[in-house]
Amino acid sequence: MSKYYLNYLDELESEAIFVLREVWAQFQNPVILFSGGKDSIVVTHLARKAFYPSKIPFALMHVDTGHNFPETIKFRDDLIESLGVRLIVGSVQESIDQGRVAEEKGKNATRNALQITTLLDAIESNKVDCAIGGGRRDEEKARAKERFFSHRDDFGQWDPKNQRPELWNLFNGKQFEGEHFRVFPISNWTEMDVWNYIKRENIQIPSLYFAHEREVVWRSNSWIPNSEFLKLDEGEEVVTKKIRFRTLGDITITGGIESDADTVEKIAQEVSAMRQTERGNRSDDKRSETAMEDRKKQGYF
């Protein structure tokens, strides 16, 4: 019977497809949280597989900080068109204009934390009962304790000490009015698994992941891209480097690394030799030791 076993990527894929189908069966109005990053792209690809030959039965929801890489927005729009799914955009700029949130002040101000309000508002106004995310347990220490089906109370908050036990493959998505779930189909994938899968499945990803020439500034140990939102400090200068991004977030906080990797094969090779975590270049995680846990409790992705 030895031929009847799956390799690790097939097993991870099968698990994720199972989770996505559970979402469809257990919730009324689920969406995929789509950032334009590789993880949400992989989740979207898995959703295509899970429901084939039907179309993906979920809308994609994008929380737009207004501080985007232009490449990300184009990629998002092209993908939406090819899949024939609906796009819901939650705009941080609108939240600011409506006075729901205020811009951070100071040198390292970003719109990262502001997204929480916009996200929760978008979930509420669209009556979303389940938001599917690309979060992975290997990303960060608070995420390591996350469930596949993660409950959020009616304030959108996560209570890490009071999570529902999750046994076997029996997922409990029951909720009361106003509450919602976050579901993470690729919980058990590592960064390396994601790249190996992108390579195997030949999944299209934004050009930002590949090495390219870009104007950047050296700040907090990484290359921050030059943009209209960037204010230069004394002593900082804009230079042109060949870089690529390991993760994609706001253009203001996503640091690039110097690299020559311009194909998925080369990226996978580079990642396997990396000695820094991928979120090591994300200044949003560096604010304190429990920065991710604190934001997640409030309702962050």
């Binding site: 390799n7 069966a25 179309k55 529902r164 590592t190």
Partner: protein, 417 residues
């Protein structure tokens, strides 16, 4: 990494002092799975707390409260990969008040690592871990006899622990038990073979994890296909397509197989097994596929497609080993939602037959109140039949959870006897 590498899930249960965090740290560190920025973060926290050197326990503690109190509260998942396999560690706290977390981690594991301090031998906690591994039918148990450096790497100390463990485990149902003498702190027999224990002829821990046979851990005999959802594409090309989507729980299904749909009992044949990449001739657990049948039968979520000559039992009265997971004790004769595969019904715990003291394995039929972390044998009555197999034969179709409708919380996990 080779394309045919398998995924192995294992649990580690232990308390603060038995070296569990050091062992995990050692496995991750020696397999180059700890990144520099993670190590730097731990180093700086270790310094802040006034520890000598790097405290690897900090690496496995994720939440603010855990870091502040220096304890593990919840299951944490860790990942590492070697050229031979990908590993998922469910790192669970070992204290009795966290039985529910051990059970959670054990539910999906291929293997359990049980740590024993060579100086203290088998203690209550060891028995607890072994019992849970047996209850949850973890296919492989590896007893790591740790801190061998503190008993002068003595073979006698190692043999003593083995005989203590075997005396106790003869009462349990664990199929495959191995013993490895290690020093997690110094690295002996973790990744590299120990030079201090030439008398030990077996493989080091990592090599054991990399090579143990796990393909037979899933039942490949009894074909069970719980239907998750029905795929009915709204396109001209697939107008008549009706695919039953699900993940094969156990066994193998082939095109042309004669199947029965439970609970309705209708018979048909498998017309096709479809995936995104195309049709396949056969599919096996744990593949996610979409199945079409020759006949138009009314099938929906909660139904199960099985081979006609090998059916599970449709039961409304179940005997179940139940682990209570919730802060509020069970309410006598209360109704709960029961989840079994993709099926969901109402259920009532009709009778608590006995409670097990998980330290002594003694059964008590006097005390039948079920509180958090209690493990009891109970009788459950459901409103409609469930298609169950004994848990010992099938971990997927033999497991259930109970949900309290008043709180929506998962309050109990059960294994069908």
């Amino acid at each position: 990494m080779l394309d045919n590498n398998q995924l192995l899930r294992f649990t580690t249960a232990g308390s603060v002092d038995d070296g569990k965090s050091t062992l995990i740290g050692r496995l991750l560190y020696d397999s180059k799975s700890i990144f520099e920025d993670q190590l730097e973060a731990i180093e700086s926290t270790s310094k802040k707390k006034g520890h000598d050197g790097v405290d690897l326990a900090l690496f496995t503690d994720g939440l603010r409260d855990e870091r502040e109190q220096g304890i593990t509260i919840d299951v944490a998942y860790r990942y590492f990969t070697t050229p031979k396999r990908k590993f998922i560690i469910a790192d669970t706290p070992g204290h009795i008040q966290y039985t529910r977390n051990m059970v959670t981690g054990a539910s999906t594991a291929n293997a359990a690592i049980i740590l024993v301090d060579a100086r203290h031998g088998v203690i209550e906690q060891t028995k607890r871990h072994a019992f849970i591994a047996s209850l949850l039918q973890i296919p492989h148990v590896i007893v790591c006899i740790n801190k061998m450096d503190l008993v002068d790497f003595s073979e006698e100390a190692y043999n003593k622990v083995i005989s203590q463990f075997e005396e106790f485990s003869s009462k349990l149902l664990v199929k495959d038990v191995r013993f490895i003498p290690i020093s997690a702190l110094l690295g002996d027999n973790v990744v590299n073979r120990s030079k201090n224990m030439e008398w030990y002829q077996g493989a080091p821990l990592l090599h054991t994890l990399e090579t143990m046979h796990i393909s037979s851990d899933i039942n490949k005999v009894d074909a069970r296909f719980p239907v998750q959802t029905v795929l009915r594409p709204q396109s001209d090309e697939y107008r008549d397509y009706r695919g039953y989507a699900g993940r094969i729980a156990s066994g193998v299904l082939r095109k042309g197989d004669e199947v029965t749909v439970m609970p309705s009992g209708f018979n048909s044949k498998i017309k096709s097994i479809d995936t995104f990449s195309g049709e396949v001739e056969e599919a096996f657990a744990p593949m996610s596929v979409s199945i079409t049948l020759e006949d138009d039968i009314d099938i929906s979520r909660g139904d199960m497609i099985v081979r006609s000559n090998n059916k599970p039992e449709a039961q409304q009265d179940l005997e179940v080993m139940l682990c209570w997971l919730n802060n509020s004790p069970a309410k006598p004769r209360a109704k709960y939602t029961i989840k079994h595969t993709s099926n969901e019904q109402k259920a009532m715990v009709k009778e608590v037959l006995y409670k097990i003291d998980i330290n002594t394995l003694n059964r008590s039929s006097d005390d039948t109140e079920m509180s958090m972390n209690d493990i009891c044998k109970v009788k459950i009555r459901t409103t409609k039949p469930l298609m169950v197999d004994p848990y010992r034969e099938n971990r997927t179709t033999g497991s259930i959870i109970l949900i309290d409708d008043a709180t929506n919380e998962t309050v109990a996990a059960g294994m069908v006897v």
